[in-house]
Point group: C2
Chain length 376, copies 2
């Protein structure tokens, strides 16, 4: 079993070009993780993902816990074997989905009490339980359960929440290091990442980072961003938080963001991303291009024979016109979602490839300026 | 421009192994045409279809006429260019869909008056109009407009309908041979097939075949089957009709059927098939296998680690378990439809490959008996 490791081979300003080694293979960073909520990226097959060069998939603990259940997946030999994906997988802790249940959940020190969005059945997600579930799933990177704070939050609420997240992180780490016998550990090489909280306060973020690092994890995430704050505020929090995290561990910005966000976050020291934006937007007919977003459903594309993005080399752009993609969208063909998703994910993964190459050649700042200029 | 041609290279009993040459390439027969109603096979990309070895696609004139319209497609250079599919395409005449509109259509000698299922707008589909639309689409094989009779039909109704279909076929052929200047002909190599009707009467079928052949088409279809009659009745109609059609022209059984139907129809001299069964059933979780059908949603597959069909070499069967496919279906992931459709179409196309090979080696009867035995 390969132990988890991470190394930075090249830096350019604060941007880092690195390599993450997991039990299921390597990931070049900065990397974007397509979201396969229930064990599949909506509308794509795994071979579609592989054709795009995706090296790591994100999957959602909350959904898999409810259906088909982590026990069933453990009996299948773990998530990789169950879903037939042989490359690395990161699982979230389930916390974000639970907090999104709003009226159907209450939080106390033990964890999050919630009712399933499917059948209303009651559940309790504790830091230990979230760790156990992910051990059974056998993802390559497991996340600790954190408390997700709404934005804006007052200073007291932000501190209380940060303190709770730290206590939960300690409990999750202890559990991770000594799982009980009734938990099936399907991936002995699993790593665990801590999560920095603290709303938009630079002081709380710094303290959260320092104390999370003291607990000690294989990597660190910045959570609680992309929750409604302006982009500049988010960029500032990242810029102040990343330097508080150890240089030899990967830094993961959770649930973010636009292509611009990725470039700006890399400029501030981030290595890993996930976001539903490229896949969800694709299903709504919104395509990312090198010259900005287009809504393929607009009538102006009805007779437009150009590819969605003339600068893109993906299967969709090589083969199909805006006119055809608009037709498929308008007549509600499933294939529309597939082709749009292929393009948007290709656009994101190409952006990350461009970022890595720019860092490797010491040209990241030039890349950043040019990338943002073209799209606006 | 390649002219349409067809040749039989090998016969085994009444089964024929042949080759159809069109303006967009060759098709080995007997062949199954996946149904891409609106210019895409639901849930698949064209490269998925190519990976399955599909050599010809069927598309629906009625749907494309309404959206995006044959004028728009003609301005794009025809259906092949519009949808990015470079291999042969057969288009139906739109008749079957119009007749399915039931209360929203009336038939008279001029053609079918109908209201769009989308916006209720009134339209008239005549034999000439159906020919014009398909000329603008530029499919490789166009079908004449026929009258689709309900089953069962009394002898008088069956004769009246057959006579009308013959009159319409003459009008369609005349139009095909001298299209007016305002029709954009996007495929100079387009062929036109006539359609034999006559309900389940052997006499009417023979007469319909003979008189349709007298008009003269590049190929002939048997229509009006798979409309509720028992399989044995259908097989008998095919057995009595096929010999009335010229040996040097392809014979197309429209809208049929189960895997067994394909084998039985080939045994009676059929060369071409289309059917929504493999694709529609896939979306409903029903998979064809070498040992019969399975409903992937059944609880018995929740922990079944076997592929859907252990005898199948398709991407789905090589990569995924019944347990995973059941999970995707139960949680309503789009990818379920894609993977199931890939398998079912693979199963159909493999069946046709097996049929062609068996004919080539003079082993078709052995193949037929064994194929049906395994599945029952």
């Amino acid at each position: 079993m390969t132990a988890f490791s991470f190394s930075v081979s090249q830096s350019d300003g604060r941007a880092r070009y690195g390599r993450m080694t997991t039990a299921h293979g390597e990931v070049e960073t900065p990397a974007f993780m397509p979201v396969g909520t229930q064990g599949a990226v909506k509308g794509l097959t795994h071979r579609d993902l592989e054709s795009l060069g995706a090296e790591i998939l994100l999957s959602n603990t909350y959904h898999l816990y409810l259906r088909p259940g982590d026990d069933l997946i453990a009996r299948r030999g773990g998530l990789h074997r169950f879903i037939g994906w042989t490359k690395p997988i990161l699982t979230d802790s389930g916390g974000y989905q639970v907090f999104s249940l709003a009226a159907r959940r209450t939080i106390d020190e033990s964890g999050a009490h919630f009712r399933s969005h499917l059948d209303g059945s009651p559940h309790l997600l504790t830091p230990e339980k979230a760790t156990d579930i992910q051990a059974q799933l056998g993802s390559d990177i497991a996340m600790v359960l954190d408390e997700c704070l709404a934005y804006p939050a007052d200073a007291d609420a932000a501190r209380r929440s940060m303190e709770r997240t730290l206590r939960w992180a300690r409990r999750a780490r202890e559990r991770f290091l000594s799982l009980p016998d009734d938990v099936v550990v399907t991936n002995r090489g699993q790593a665990q990442f801590g999560i920095v909280q603290g709303s938009i306060s630079p002081e709380l973020r710094a303290e959260s980072a320092q104390r999370t690092v003291e607990i000690g994890f294989e990597g660190y995430a910045i959570g609680g961003l992309s929750v409604g704050e302006p982009p500049d505020v988010m960029y500032d929090v990242i810029a102040r938080t990343a330097p508080c995290l150890p240089a030899d561990r990967p830094r993961y910005l959770m649930g973010t963001g636009t292509p611009d966000d990725l470039v700006e976050a890399v400029a501030r020291g981030i290595d890993l991303f996930d976001c539903v934006l490229p896949t969800r937007n694709a299903r709504n007919g919104q395509l990312f291009t090198s010259e900005g977003r287009i809504n393929i459903k607009n009538a102006q594309y009805a007779e437009d024979d150009r590819p969605p993005d003339p600068a893109c080399g993906c299967y969709t752009c090589r083969t199909f016109s805006r006119a055809y993609l608009r037709h498929l969208y308008v007549v509600n063909e499933m294939t529309a979602a597939t082709l749009n998703t292929l393009h948007n994910l290709s656009f994101y993964l190409d952006t990350l490839r461009g970022i890595r190459e720019a860092i490797a050649f010491g040209q990241f700042e030039r890349f950043r300026v040019e990338y943002v200029r073209r799209r606006h």
